[in-house]
């Protein structure tokens, strides 16, 4: 029997399979926090430095476990801090439940201290379900619905508990009166399959295609075999949206890698020249990197009908689970006997890897960031989990790191927010304490939230079976992605007041809180640095001093981008000579390789 509503909430979450809650306490949620204490060790409370970190971790927990992630925060400011992480989960379709405190019921509406209209605050991010528990008997319904809806709709849900309700005596079963409801625990996934007629139409289109491209995303994670079978039958190449990086290993000769501004040349070539596109589990946002209107016939598979026909008009839109739909589809396809298209893709992929190596090996001042990633790639442990932050480091993460079978990888795909790289890595360690984790982060994100998360790493790492957590910080003193966007998209010179970061030694900082640190100051430090990092049986910060003027060259440069780049030079970019020099070296590397 539950003592209080707080106790009931923890027991109900446990009944739903929740074992870990990421959060930060406060007086608005003390009734639940105290109950978690009483429920320990069945339930684990992971206290982190900031509610935003907790929400990122809940999102990553869902991504790396397939379970619902749960985060907790107090009323007012704590609740507000959750928002960015919750939006990350919402936009990447992750099931996350937020348990949030609120002022006592007698204070609500009184313009009380820390009283925020949480229903309004969360109504967008938790649009599928956001409710306030105004009566102890309501707790059962609200927790059951929040969990079930989060699972069923792959979304964020939120339950708000006024502080006094949390401490009231629990009512596990409402009295049998008119209006009372009795919800239960449990949810099982349905098998969602498209109509057979639609499958037949898809087969017809795919069979007619002579140059088939595939684009896979997070929805195709876990169905590598089916994707490979489809690609083999269709003689297709496979591009991967960032959230789908782990769908296929990058050593397959027809995997063209990432797509878009952060993408690869073979992905771009494939999209520009295909006559048929098969999209599996992706809502990759940048339509300008997909086939031009009228160029290709499109077949799209997605578990969410909301995502169908979202970026490019589809000829056949298949509402279904990626794996089951591909299992239905592939055996009906005719194998393409003419493999010229596939050979072309494979040649472009092979050439791309040579180009990447040539670019990575180009000198810079002091270190070319591409080389840091290029040398890391073959040294990644077999079963590691990769996480990335948002920034120029994401370019190198997306392009240079070759995923191998068994690895996992994720980042903030659709919100593309700064900050989640290290919280994701920490959550990965809670979900898979036996696997090494490698997080890649820019110095901007490290100063924003990463340094705080590192305190949590220092706090928890001794619990992990495999204590390896390697954190790569690219120290270039620049908010580099945005600097390049200012130059190439706006034609503006680098604005030092907004772009330059205060100097900070991430290695020194790591050591002061008990985390190992390795510094890469010159190219000769890179290989020994990685070997030492991977052999160290505790978390390590690898601080690499990299050159901010090495341009993250897109797969193709548009006339407008070239013009804006020149404008930024003419308008007096403070680093213009180094920009020119490093850009020329990168371009030249592509010519002479």
């Amino acid at each position: 029997m539950s003592e209080t509503v707080g106790d009931f909430v923890t027991q109900r979450l446990y009944a739903w399979g929740v074992r870990t809650i990421y959060g930060y306490p406060g007086d608005g949620i003390n009734g639940v926090v105290g109950a978690i204490d009483r429920a320990t060790p069945k339930l684990r409370f992971v206290q982190v430095r900031h509610e935003e970190i907790a929400a990122f971790m809940a999102c990553a927990h869902a991504k790396f476990s397939g379970e619902v992630g749960v985060c907790l925060a107090t009323s007012g400011p704590g609740a507000i801090h959750l928002l960015n992480g919750l939006y990350d989960a919402s936009m990447d379709n992750q099931p996350v439940v937020a348990i949030v405190g609120q002022s006592k019921r007698i204070s609500m509406g009184a313009d009380y201290q820390q009283e925020v209209d949480l229903q309004s605050l969360f109504k967008d991010v938790a649009r599928e379900f956001c409710q306030t528990c105004m009566h102890p008997a309501q707790a059962r319904t609200l927790i059951d619905r929040a969990m079930r809806i989060a699972m069923a709709t792959h979304s964020v849900t939120c339950v708000i508990f006024p502080a006094d309700v949390q401490e009231e005596r629990a009512i596990e079963e409402a009295p049998r009166t008119h209006g009372a409801v009795y919800t239960g625990v449990g949810y099982s996934e349905s098998r969602i399959l498209p109509h057979p007629d639609e499958i037949a139409r898809a087969v017809e289109i795919l069979d007619e295609g002579e140059r088939v491209a595939m684009l896979v995303g997070a929805g195709a994670l876990g169905c590598s075999e089916e994707v490979m079978a489809a690609a083999d039958t269709l003689g297709a190449g496979v591009a991967k949206a960032l959230l789908g990086k782990a769908v296929l290993p990058d050593d397959l000769p027809y995997v063209t890698g990432s797509i878009g501004l952060l993408g690869t040349r073979p992905s771009d070539l494939m999209m520009q020249n295909c006559d048929t596109l098969l999209m599996v589990g992706t809502s990759f946002p940048y339509a300008d990197w997909l086939p031009r209107p009228g160029q290709a016939r499109v077949v799209q598979i997605d578990i969410s009908p909301r995502k169908l026909g979202l970026r490019i008009p589809g000829d056949v839109l298949l509402h279904g689970d990626a794996r089951d739909t591909l299992r239905l589809l592939v055996p009906k396809l005719r194998r393409k006997e003419d493999r010229a298209w596939r050979r072309g893709i494979e040649a472009a992929v092979a050439d791309w890897w040579k180009l990447l190596e040539a670019r990575a090996m180009t000198s810079a001042d002091p270190i070319n960031p591409q080389r840091v990633f290029w040398e890391l790639s073959p040294r990644l442990p077999d079963d590691c989990i990769l996480t990335a932050d948002s920034g120029s480091s994401t370019n190198w993460w997306a392009r240079e790191l070759k995923i191998r079978p068994g690895m996992m990888a994720s980042l903030s795909g659709n919100l593309a927010t700064m900050g989640p790289g290290l919280p994701y890595a920490l959550a990965a360690k809670f979900v898979h304490p036996d696997r090494p984790v490698v997080a890649t982060i820019g110095d901007g994100a490290m100063q924003m939230i990463g340094n705080n998360t590192l305190i949590d790493v220092a706090k928890y790492w001794r619990e992990w079976e495999d204590p390896r957590l390697v954190v790569i910080v690219l120290n270039n003193g620049d908010l580099n992605q945005v600097t390049w966007e200012q130059r190439v998209m706006e034609g503006d010179p680098k604005f030092n007041a907004s772009q330059v970061l205060p100097p900070f030694s991430y290695a020194d900082y790591a050591r002061t809180i008990g985390v190992e640190a390795i510094v890469m100051r010159e190219p000769a430090d890179i290989v020994p640095g990685w070997e030492q990092a991977m052999a160290t049986r505790r978390p390590v910060v690898v601080e690499a001093y990299t050159d901010p003027e090495v341009p993250p060259l897109p797969p193709h440069i548009t006339f407008d981008q070239a013009k804006k780049y020149l404008e930024s030079l003419v308008r007096g970019d403070p680093r213009r000579w180094r920009m020119i020099k490093e850009s020329a070296k990168q371009m030249w590397a592509g010519v002479v390789r």
């Binding site: 494939m270 020249n273 072309g344 040649a347």
Partner: protein, 161 residues
Amino acid sequence: MGLVAMQLAQTLSKPLVRQREPKPTDVFLTERTISPLGPQHHPDESATDALGRIAYQKLVGRQPSPRMKNRLSWGVHIGYGLFVASLYGLTRGGRTRRPLRDGLLFGTGLWLFGEELAVPLLGLGDKPTAYHPTLHLQTLLAHLGFGLATAGATQLVEARS
């Protein structure tokens, strides 16, 4: 006359032409073009084939038959030849005293700016490096033939008048 000379030069130099070693990446048409408009010609089409087909499609709204396509191609070829020959006549007529030099310059210019630059930039042909050097030599010879014949004919007409 110019077109006849051009055809003759093309026929005579045909044995010299070698095909470029095909590359697997030739399947990417966008890789074979330098045109900001993208490739406008099909892999088996010459520039005049493509221009004729595009004009026909715009006017009639459907693809021409192979026979019609061939006729259109010749139409474009002859029309363009007459046009540039007239331009030559207008700009050089009456002042031409050295037909050999002028014919060579005219043919070379036409080859350089038409065949090697305008055609690939308009997407009516692949980028110059997509062809074997001997093919460039052949088209140069053909254009020189055209230039010389045009300059010679202009000189002849002027001498008679």
